[in-house]
C-alpha cells in the first residue's frame, strides 16, 4: 500500500487528467460547432451541401481516430510543417484538438440529425407557411427543438470524446493520462494492476456525472408532444 501511494508522489496523476479534460473541452466546443453546421448542410434543400455533409460524415466517422491523430502529427505537423502556436507543445496540443474535433463532429452531426427527426414535419411546414426561409426556420423552429431531443445522444458523444482524448498520445500529447499510465507501467511494472485500476477509476469518475446529467436533462428538456 505504501508502495502504491508513493506513485502519487513521483507522478502527477491529477495533472494528466487535467490535460484530458482540457482536450475534451476544446474539442467538444469545436465538434459542436462543426457538427451543427454539418447537420444544417444535411437537412438543407441544396443538393451539393447535402452531398458535402454526407461525404464528411462518412469519411470521418469511418476513419479510426488513431489514424486521424497520427496524421495530425506526421502529416500536418512533420511533413506539411503546420504550426498552430509558437511553442512546440502548445502547437501539438492544438493539432490534437483539431483531430479530435474533426472526428467527433461527424458523430455530433448524426446526433443532431436524430434530434431533427423528433421534430414533426408539420413544424417545418408551419415555419414555411408564415414566410420563413430555410435558415430562419432552422434557427428559430427546428434546431431548438432538435437540440432538446438530441441531448442524450450528444451526451454519449461527449462521453466517447472524453475517453477518446487518450488517443491524443498518438498525436504526441504524451502528458495526458494514457501516456502517464504508460510511463508509470514502464518504471513500476510491479504495480501494473493497481496503476491500471487507478486510471480506469479516474475515467469512471469523470464520465459518470455526464451520463447522469444528460439523462436528467434529456427528460427535463424533452419537448412534450
Amino acid at each position: 500500500m505504501e508502495n502504491y501511494l508513493s506513485l502519487f508522489e513521483t507522478y502527477d496523476v491529477p495533472a494528466a487528467f487535467w490535460i484530458n479534460i482540457q482536450l475534451s473541452f476544446w474539442a467538444a466546443l469545436w465538434a459542436l460547432a462543426i457538427g451543427t453546421v454539418l447537420a444544417l448542410f444535411r437537412i438543407s434543400p441544396i443538393p451539393s451541401l447535402q452531398w458535402f455533409g454526407a461525404a464528411y460524415v462518412n469519411i470521418f466517422r469511418n476513419t479510426p481516430l488513431t489514424i486521424i491523430l497520427a496524421f495530425g502529427f506526421l502529416g500536418l505537423f512533420s511533413v506539411m510543417q503546420i504550426n498552430l502556436a509558437g511553442e512546440l507543445d502548445v502547437s501539438l496540443f492544438r493539432i490534437a484538438i483539431v483531430g479530435l474535433a474533426v472526428y467527433h463532429a461527424a458523430f455530433v452531426c448524426e446526433a443532431i440529425r436524430s434530434g431533427v427527426n423528433t421534430v414533426p414535419l408539420g413544424q417545418a411546414e408551419a415555419a414555411r407557411a408564415i414566410g420563413l426561409s430555410f435558415l430562419p426556420a432552422a434557427r428559430l423552429i427546428i434546431l431548438p427543438q432538435a437540440f432538446r431531443g438530441a441531448i442524450a445522444p450528444l451526451g454519449n458523444v461527449l462521453i466517447a470524446l472524453i475517453k477518446n482524448s487518450t488517443v491524443a498520445a498518438a498525436g504526441s500529447v504524451a502528458a495526458e493520462a494514457s501516456g502517464l499510465m504508460k510511463t508509470m507501467i514502464e518504471f513500476r511494472s510491479d504495480l501494473v494492476i493497481p496503476i491500471f485500476l487507478t486510471f480506469a477509476l479516474g475515467f469512471v469518475i469523470l464520465v459518470i456525472p455526464i451520463g447522469l446529467l444528460t439523462t436528467w436533462a434529456s427528460r427535463k428538456l424533452a419537448v412534450a408532444r
Binding site: 512533420s78 504508460k182 513500476r188 511494472s189
Partner: protein
C-alpha cells in the same frame, strides 16, 4: 403445439452451433500443439518486432542483433533455429510475458534494473548500450548540452524520455508511440534530434529508407546493460551466460553488431563492450 416445435428447433440449432464451435476449437488446439512439439526441444523467445537492427519483423523472418544473439544462445542450448518460436515482446509486456511463462526468455533491449529484478531473473548482460542522440547528418548537435531550446523526440513512457525530462528541462520533448514516427518527423525538419539507446538509433539510421540522412552522435550519457530476461527461478541462467561468453570469444558477437548497424556510421562503446556476464543469483 406450433410454439413448442419452434422452440425445439431453436434448441437444436443452438446445440448444433455450440457443438461445432467446440469441435473447431479442439482441432485448432491439437494442431498447434503438435507443430510446436515436432522434432526436438523448442524455445519461445520474446523479441521486439519493430526495432530495425535489433529485433525486426520482416514479414515472417526476423533480423537484428537481439535476434542473432538469441539464435546463438538457443543453438548452444541445443535448440535449432526452426524450433524457435518468436514472440513479440513490447516493452510494457515483458515482465508479464515472463511471469506468466508465455515465453522462455526475452532478448528485447531489456535493461537490467533493480525494480525489474524483483519480478524477473536476468542472464547477461550481452551488450552495454548508452543513451545517445540521432541527428541529421549536417547537424552540429554534439551532445545533450547542445539541446537547449531544440525539439527532441522519444517514445512515450520510455526510460530515455524520462531521463531527458529530469535532467534537461530546457529541451522541448515530443513523445511519440514509436521511434519510426520520430525519425519520420525528423526527416520533415520539425524535430532536431531523436534520443534512445545508441544501438537502437544505429539500427534506425541503418535502415534503407534513412541511409545517409542521419548520424549517431556518439556521446553516450547513460549505461544500459541489456540482459536476457528469464522467469523468476529459471535454471537456464548459467548456460546462457556461458553461451554469451562463447559468442564474444569466437568473434560472432562483434560480427553480429557490425552486420546489423552497417551503413549507420556507428561504433559501439569499446570501454564497456564486450561485457562480462554477471554471475547468476
Amino acid at each position: 403445439m406450433q410454439k413448442t416445435r419452434y422452440a425445439a428447433a431453436a434448441v437444436a440449432a443452438v446445440a448444433a452451433l455450440t457443438l461445432s464451435a467446440c469441435g473447431g476449437g479442439d482441432s485448432a488446439e491439437s494442431g498447434s500443439g503438435s507443430s510446436a512439439e515436432g522434432g526436438g526441444e523448442s524455445l519461445r523467445i520474446g523479441i521486439k518486432f519493430d526495432q530495425p537492427g535489433l529485433g525486426y519483423d520482416e514479414g515472417g523472418s526476423y533480423s537484428g542483433f537481439d535476434v542473432d544473439v538469441a539464435k546463438y544462445v538457443a543453438g548452444e542450448l541445443g535448440v535449432s533455429e526452426e524450433n524457435i518460436e518468436w514472440v513479440e515482446a513490447p516493452s510494457a509486456n515483458r515482465e508479464n510475458l515472463l511471469s506468466n511463462e508465455q515465453v522462455d526468455m526475452i532478448f528485447a533491449t531489456y535493461s537490467i534494473t533493480d525494480t525489474r529484478k524483483e519480478t524477473v531473473d536476468f542472464a547477461g548482460p550481452y551488450f552495454v548500450a548508452g543513451q545517445d542522440l540521432l541527428v541529421p547528418t549536417d547537424s552540429d548537435i554534439a551532445g545533450p548540452e547542445d539541446l537547449e531550446g531544440k525539439n527532441l523526440c522519444s517514445v512515450t513512457g520510455s526510460t530515455s524520455a524520462q531521463k531527458i525530462k529530469d535532467q534537461y528541462p530546457g529541451v522541448q520533448l515530443v513523445e511519440q508511440p514509436g521511434y519510426a514516427e520520430c525519425v519520420t518527423a525528423m526527416g520533415g525538419g520539425q524535430i532536431d534530434a531523436v534520443t534512445t539507446d545508441d544501438i537502437i538509433l544505429a539500427g534506425l539510421a541503418a535502415q534503407e529508407a534513412n541511409a545517409g540522412k542521419f548520424k549517431v552522435v556518439g556521446n553516450t550519457f547513460s549505461e544500459e546493460n541489456y540482459g536476457v530476461g528469464l522467469p523468476k527461478g529459471s535454471e537456464r541462467c548459467e548456460d546462457i551466460n556461458a553461451a554469451i561468453t562463447k559468442m564474444i570469444d569466437d568473434g560472432d558477437w562483434e560480427e553480429a553488431i557490425t552486420r546489423n548497424t552497417e551503413g549507420a556510421d556507428y561504433t559501439f562503446n569499446a570501454e564497456l563492450n564486450p561485457p562480462t556476464p554477471a554471475p547468476c543469483a
